[in-house]
Amino acid sequence: MSLVSIRDVRKSFGSNEVLKGVSLDIAKGDVVAIIGRSGSGKSTLLRCINGLETYQSGSIVADGIEVAGANTNLRELRRHVGMVFQQFNLFPHLTAAENVMLAPTVVNKVSKAEARATAAEVLAKVGLSEKMDAYPSELSGGQQQRVAIARSLAMRPKVLLCDEITSALDPELVNEVLRVVEQLAREGMTLILVTHEMRFARDVGTKLVFMHHGKVHEEGVPKEVFAAPRTPELQQFVGQVS
C-alpha cells in the first residue's frame, strides 16, 4: 500500500498544461528524487501533493487523505505532510526555536514546555542546538534551511516534501543541508525531493523520477537509471548536468 499515490494528474495554468497525466506511487520509506529541466512540472507536482496547488483531473491520495480541491481536509493532510522550500521561508520575527515550536503549539495544542523540548530535539538533529534563540537574520543560508527542516520535523510528518532546498544556497553550504537530508533518509523518513543534485539523487535516492514536458518520462532505481538511461531525453539531461 503506497503512502502517496498519484493517478493521472493533470494541471494547467491557463492554457499552459504543466502536468499532462502524471502517475506515481510512493511507499513508506522511499526516497524519491524528482529531476528534470525547469518547466518540466516537477515543483508543481510536489506542490499538488500538499494542496498548495490545485489540479484539474486525476487524483492524489497522501496518507489516506484525498487531496482534491475545496473539500480536502487540508489541515489534517498538512499535519502529516511537511514541506521545505527553496527560499527557506522562516518566520523572520521568531527565533529558530519559536519557528519550530509554532505549529506544534498552535495546530497540535502542545504545551510550550513540551514544544520547546521537541524543538531542542529536532534542532539538535540538524546540528543547531546552539542556535535555538537566534533569529533567522543571524543565521547563514545553510543554517536557515536546516531550521526549516527542523520546523517541518517537529510536526512528525509521515512524508517530507523538499522543493529544490539547496538551490538558493551558496555552493559551500549545500553539503551541510544534504547531510541532514541523508541522515533523515537513513532513519527511514519518506522523502520526495525535487533536486538538481544528481550525485545526491543517485547515492541517497531509492527511486528516481525524470520528468519531461509534464510527464514522468522515466523512472527506476537511481543507480541503474543513471548508469543506463533508456530515453534520449534523459541521456541528454544527464550528459548536461554531470
Binding site: N50, L52, L74, R75, E76, L77, R78, R79, V81, G82, M83, F85, Q87, N89, L90, F91, P92, H93, L102, A103, V106, V107, Y135, S137, A148, R151, S152, M155
Partner: protein
Amino acid sequence: MLQFSFWDILSNLLIATQWTIVLSLIAFFCGGIVGLVLLFMRTSRIAPLEWFTKIYIEFFQGTPLLMQLFLFFFGIALFGVEVSPWMAATLALTFWTSAFLTEIWRGCVEAIPKGQWEASSSLALSYIEQMRYVILPQASRIAVAPTVGFSVQVIKGTALASIIGFVELTKAGTMLNNATFRPFLVYSLVALIYFCLCFPLSWWAKKIEGRLNVAR
C-alpha cells in the same frame, strides 16, 4: 456686553479641544477595531466577504466625510431614532476611519512575501492562525508609520463634526468668533491648536518610518 479677554478665548478653545481629542481617540480606536475585522474579511479569499469589504471601502473612501456625517445625523432620524450629534459623529468617523485603515493595512499584509503564507499553510495553520502568528506580527511593523500618519487625518476630520452641531474645537471657534468678532485671532488659535495636536504625530510617524528601515 460681555467682554472676552485673550485668555478667555484660549481657555474656552482648550476646553473644546478636549472633545476634539476624545472624538479622535474614539474614532481611531473604534475605527481600528472595525478596520481589523474588515482586514480579515478583505484578505480571507472568501468572495462574498471580499466583495462586501470592497463596496464598504469604496463607499466610505469615495464620498465626502461631510456627506457621511449628514447621512448618519439625518438619515437615522428618518427611521424614528433620535441621533445626537455625538452619536452621529462617532459612527460616521468610525466607519470612515475603518475604511482607510483597512486599505492601509491590506497594503501592509500584501507586502509580506508569499513564501510566508506558503510555509505557514504547509505547517497546517488555518487562515486566522496564519494572520495572527505569522502575517500580522510582520505586517504591523510596516503598518505603524502610515497608521500614525493617518491619525492626523482623523483629528482633522473631527472638525467636520462641528457642522452637525457637535461642540469641538472648530465649533467652539465659530461660537467664540460670533461672540467676539475677532475671526483672525480666534481661527489662528484654532489652527495653532490643531497643529499642536497633529505635528507631534506626523513627526513621530516620520521618525518610526526611518527607524523601521534599518530594523531587522
